[in-house]
């Protein structure tokens, strides 16, 4: 049974410069304990997608269409009160910059206990116990004492662990992680990746891992959705997509990662710049940067087509799996 | 906004920017000069001086809002505040012509008309006291118009003079640097560490009552604000490259200061001085209320309120109430305009 099923999600930003379709008809689904890697450049709408699921998009942004089915309930039409009961409880979120996510003037204890007691009618002591366990689980040494500390007394990596512990407090069904390792040192990045992977597997929590880095999700995600200019351009099982990327943009992303066994090869790069979201072209948004673009690409945006088991694509000129690229 | 057609060009080839600078300068000097004439009590050319004053003020305001009017008038409160401020200024400037009686000409007063409630008429019915009378039979409305004039002219004059002094000191400090700067700024800090009302109170206690004395006291109270602000702006401007470039070109110091430093210090000054005029009106009225402000012969709104205070408890509210409403109206409209100006001129918000 799927935990989350997003259908044709549309989130628009109503700015002075015009309507920005930050998320345009995005669909994906996620089973229990499954990990989805949501990949794209900055500004591709991947973070907004994550915030849309929790209905935390700031004004002037708004979810304007589609369904967000979470365990059979459509979050897009849930009451504010019902939504609040889910947040931090059934659906948790981890943010990008651990230096900013914890309130600087409140003790860790306050920030953890309130997260428990917002959803469970338990005593302060019981909530505190749960907080200690959660801290221990994410590898914070001597969690009892650390509870009394303020965020600035922790390093960046430790703060992100605290944030993860807060996300785990109520045993959520789904965690949305918005580039949680981008702001950290590489060594700590891999530690945290490994820990999160283990925790998710252990507890059966579904995970949406938002990142701009395909390499990060390669070892973590069960499936991948690649976003470009507010749309998912390619999706499928991680191994299949990495082995045979069909969309020229996915190929470009893969080509720009230095990897094993590719020493001496030229790193390819995607020409051009990320598009201006307020003035997207009529046709395929990637066409201006695409080497294969034809007149058709400029005329009308390609629709989603199935290209194999669990794989979908938006492109007129794909590299189909049968031909192979790798 | 095309005000340029109404004003004759100063020089046939002057660039619009220079032309506006000249127009503003002329208008500013005219305002200060006419204010000085009117405040000194000279009866020469009273009426023309007032007309010039009004025109000068309007031209200054137009120059300020040139090209930004759209941003300034972004809500109904901006229109409302501007209109009421303009109305009050016109009322104050032409108080002599507009008020039903001259409240300080004893021949026009009749003690028999004393303490009449609003709407009463004189015994012979020749005149209606729309806002009542005070204990000497003085029309409150006329008193308010005259009082408004005293309050406004004292505050505007004191604020402008304090601004000039503050700008000179501030720029001099920033320009001179070193020991001079630190001594001047110590003095500024020392003065600013005391609430303005306390400083003004002590000064008035030392000087005694008087229109000229309260103006001097209000100047002394305020100059330090400007000095501090101007020095801050001048220092941050002086660090910018164009000043180095100007120095590199061998421009004389006064050209750099007046041509480059000063113009950049002006927007924050205008915002501060607008709000300061309002604060000064309140401060002056407080001092007058306490009995150490303007003389009894030239009461400001504050003194009118104080005079009526004694009758308030017996229910004869109009003697204090209406001058208070006038005071609130003028201060609130200046503050609202200042608020809009801050949003309009604030360079940090101009994106």
């Amino acid at each position: 049974m799927s935990v989350l099923d997003v259908r044709d999600l549309q989130t628009h930003f109503f700015t002075d410069a015009g309507v920005v379709k930050a998320v345009d008809k995005v669909s994906f689904s996620l089973g229990e304990g499954e990990v989805l890697g949501l990949v794209g450049e900055s500004g591709s709408g991947k973070s907004v997608t994550g915030f849309s699921i929790l209905r935390l998009v700031d004004a002037p942004g708004r979810v304007v269409g589609g369904q967000i089915n979470f365990r059979g309930e459509d979050l897009a039409h849930l009451s504010d009160r019902g939504m609040r009961a889910l947040r931090g409880n059934r659906i948790a979120m981890i943010f990008q910059d651990p230096m900013m996510t914890l309130n600087p003037v409140l003790r860790i204890e306050t920030q953890m206990v309130e997260a428990v007691r917002a959803h469970d009618r338990v005593s302060h002591a019981a909530a505190r116990d749960r907080a200690v366990q959660a801290l221990a689980k994410v590898g914070i040494p001597s969690p009892e004492e650390r509870l009394a500390a303020y965020p600035h007394q922790f390093s960046g990596g430790m703060r992100q662990r605290v944030a993860i512990a807060i996300a785990l407090l109520n045993g959520p069904d789904l965690i949305v992680a918005d580039e949680p390792t981008t702001a950290l040192d590489v060594t700590i990045q891999s530690q945290i990746l490994a820990e999160v992977q283990e925790l998710a597997r252990e507890t059966g929590t579904a995970l949406i891992w938002i990142t701009h880095d395909l390499a990060v999700v390669a070892g973590l995600a069960d499936k991948i959705s690649v976003m470009y200019a507010g749309r998912i351009v390619e999706s499928g099982p991680t191994d299949a997509v990495l082995a045979g990327p069909a969309h020229p943009y996915t190929q470009g992303l893969l080509g720009s990662i230095p990897g094993h066994g590719r020493r001496g090869e030229r790193l390819t790069q995607i020409p051009g710049m990320a598009p201006n979201m307020a003035r997207l072209p009529v046709g395929c948004a990637f066409a201006p940067r695409c080497t294969r673009a034809t007149d058709a690409c400029g005329a009308e945006a390609p629709s989603i087509t199935d290209i194999g088991p669990g794989r979908a694509l938006r492109c007129y000129h794909p590299t189909l799996p049968a031909e192979g690229v790798a | 906004m095309s005000v340029s057609e109404q004003s004759p060009p100063v020089a046939p080839v002057a660039a619009p920017r220079d032309r506006w600078r000249t127009i503003n300068l002329v208008a500013g000097l005219a305002v200060i000069a006419t204010l000085g004439i009117l405040l000194s009590g000279q009866s020469i050319a009273q009426f023309p001086a007032r007309v010039i004053l009004l025109i000068g003020l309007v031209v200054l305001a137009a120059g300020l809002l040139r090209g930004r009017a759209h941003k300034f008038f972004s809500g109904p409160s901006a229109y409302f505040a501007t209109a009421s401020l303009l109305l009050l200024i016109v009322l104050a400037i032409f108080a002599t012509e507009l008020s039903p009686q001259n409240p300080y000409d004893l021949r026009q007063l009749d003690i028999m008309d004393g303490r009449l409630p609003p709407g009463s008429t004189t015994f012979d019915g020749a005149m209606t006291f729309h806002l009542g009378t005070d204990e000497q039979g003085r029309d409150i409305l006329s008193g308010i118009l005259y009082g408004l004039r005293v309050s406004l002219s004292v505050s505007i004059f004191a604020t402008l003079a304090a601004m000039v002094i503050g700008v000179v000191v501030g720029i001099y400090a920033a320009w001179a640097g070193g020991r001079i700067e630190s001594i001047l700024m110590r003095i500024v800090d020392f003065q600013l560490s005391f609430p303005s009302i306390l400083v003004a109170l002590m000064l008035m206690a030392a000087f005694g009552r008087g229109l000229d004395k309260i103006v001097i006291a209000l100047i002394i109270v305020q100059w330090a604000y400007y000095a501090r602000t101007v020095r801050g702006t001048a220092l941050s401007e002086a660090r910018k490259e164009y000043i180095d470039a100007a120095r590199g070109l061998g421009l004389p110091a006064y050209r750099i200061v007046f041509g480059h430093l000063l113009p950049n210090c002006i927007p924050p000054l205008i915002v501060i001085s607008t709000v300061q005029v309002a604060n000064t009106i309140v401060l002056e009225s407080s001092l007058s209320f306490l009995g150490v402000g303007v003389p009894i012969t030239q009461p400001s709104l504050g003194l009118l309120i104080a005079n009526g205070y004694g009758y308030m408890l017996s229910g004869q509210y109009w003697m204090s109430m209406y001058p208070g409403v006038a005071l609130l109206a003028i201060v609130a409209s200046i503050n609202m305009v200042g608020d809009r100006l801050r949003d309009t001129l604030n360079p940090r918000l101009q994106k």
Partner: protein, 325 residues
């Protein structure tokens, strides 16, 4: 921390010395005290005797040195009018002013913070705009006129609250205070509200700006992601962050509240040191004026020190830096 305190204390001493010079020579200009001590028609010999008794016949610099010498021993002269030591006279009036200023401060926080936080929360809605326009009126209302209106409404028309005086006072910790008696508290409400109005507008604006700033921070979004209620986010997460600047500013404003109490106390006939100052100015009671100014400076210095200490206690980030240094 200790170094910081020591540096501040040295600065304070310099301020005090500067103030002594300014005050002494400033007050020296205020009228001729002999005129009020003794009738100008008195025989010249008697006038001279009086001047000698008070030391007015000596040159200014000798008088000043004497003044400094006495001031260092806590003696700022005797009141010409009341005949007692100016310092103890002011000390006896001080509790009334301090309790009024404190209550005013409490009122301004109690009114300003909720309004400001709400205005910041609803910044683009009509509620937020209405509060901001209202705060302009709060800035614009002259203190004394507000007091008169309050008296007119609550004391004259409705007769709910007393208009003037201090009411019943009790001795608490050696100070005569009104705030602890029901009658005294009733007498305090109107003057304290009057005093609070201007600062309440200031607090509203500060709180609004702070709230808007805080609401854009990631930690608020994260708190929402934790499923906290908006009330909890505003009352704990936002409030705790904006209280630091507000308390700093308010602490510094306590001094100006004491100064502005001069006006409020006059309107409400509140027997505090502000009213004493006005009366002394009107009667040219020099020693009291000098003593008031000197003691106000001391109060300001003490307040500034306390604010600095409280500020470090409030902000955990500063606290750690302080203890590490």
């Amino acid at each position: 921390m200790l170094v910081f305190l020591l540096r501040r204390l040295t600065q304070s001493v310099f301020v005090l010395i500067a103030m002594m010079v300014v005050v002494f020579f400033g007050v020296f200009m205020i009228g001729n005290p002999v005129d009020i001590l003794i009738s100008p028609d008195a025989p010249p010999a008697e006038i001279e005797a009086t001047m000698a008794r008070f030391g007015f016949d000596q040159p200014v610099h000798i008088q000043f040195l004497k003044f400094v010498g006495n001031a260092l021993q806590g003696d700022l002269g005797r009141s010409f009018v009341h005949g007692e030591s100016a310092v103890s006279l002011i000390l006896s009036y001080m509790p009334a002013t301090l309790e009024l200023a404190m209550l005013g401060l409490i009122f301004s926080v109690a009114i300003g913070v909720p309004l400001g936080v709400y205005a910041g929360y609803k910044a683009d809605r009509w509620q937020g705009r209405a509060i901001m326009t209202g705060s302009i009126f709060g800035f614009s209302l002259p203190n004394f006129w507000v007091g008169m209106l309050l008296i007119l409404i609550f004391a004259v028309e409705l007769q709910w609250l007393p208009s003037t005086g201090r009411g019943e006072a009790v001795e608490v910790l050696g100070l005569r205070l009104s705030i602890f008696t029901a009658d005294g508290f009733q007498h305090m409400i109107l003057p304290a509200l009057t005093l609070a109005l201007y600062k309440a507008s200031l607090v509203t604006r500060l709180a609004r700006a702070g709230t808007q700033e805080a609401l854009m921070q990631d930690y608020v979004k994260f708190a929402r992601a934790k499923g906290l209620s908006e009330t909890r986010i505003l009352m704990v997460h936002v409030l705790k962050n904006i209280m630091i600047p507000i308390i700093t500013v308010l602490g510094l404003e306590l001094g100006s509240m004491i100064a502005f109490a001069v006006v409020t106390e006059t309107v409400f006939a509140w027997p505090g040191m502000g009213k004493l100052l006005i009366d002394s100015i009107l009667t040219l009671d020099r020693p009291v004026i000098v003593a008031y100014l000197m003691m106000t400076v001391v109060i300001f210095i003490v307040i500034n020190l306390i604010v600095d200490v409280v500020y470090t206690l409030l902000d955990p980030r500063v606290r750690v830096k302080g203890s590490a240094a």
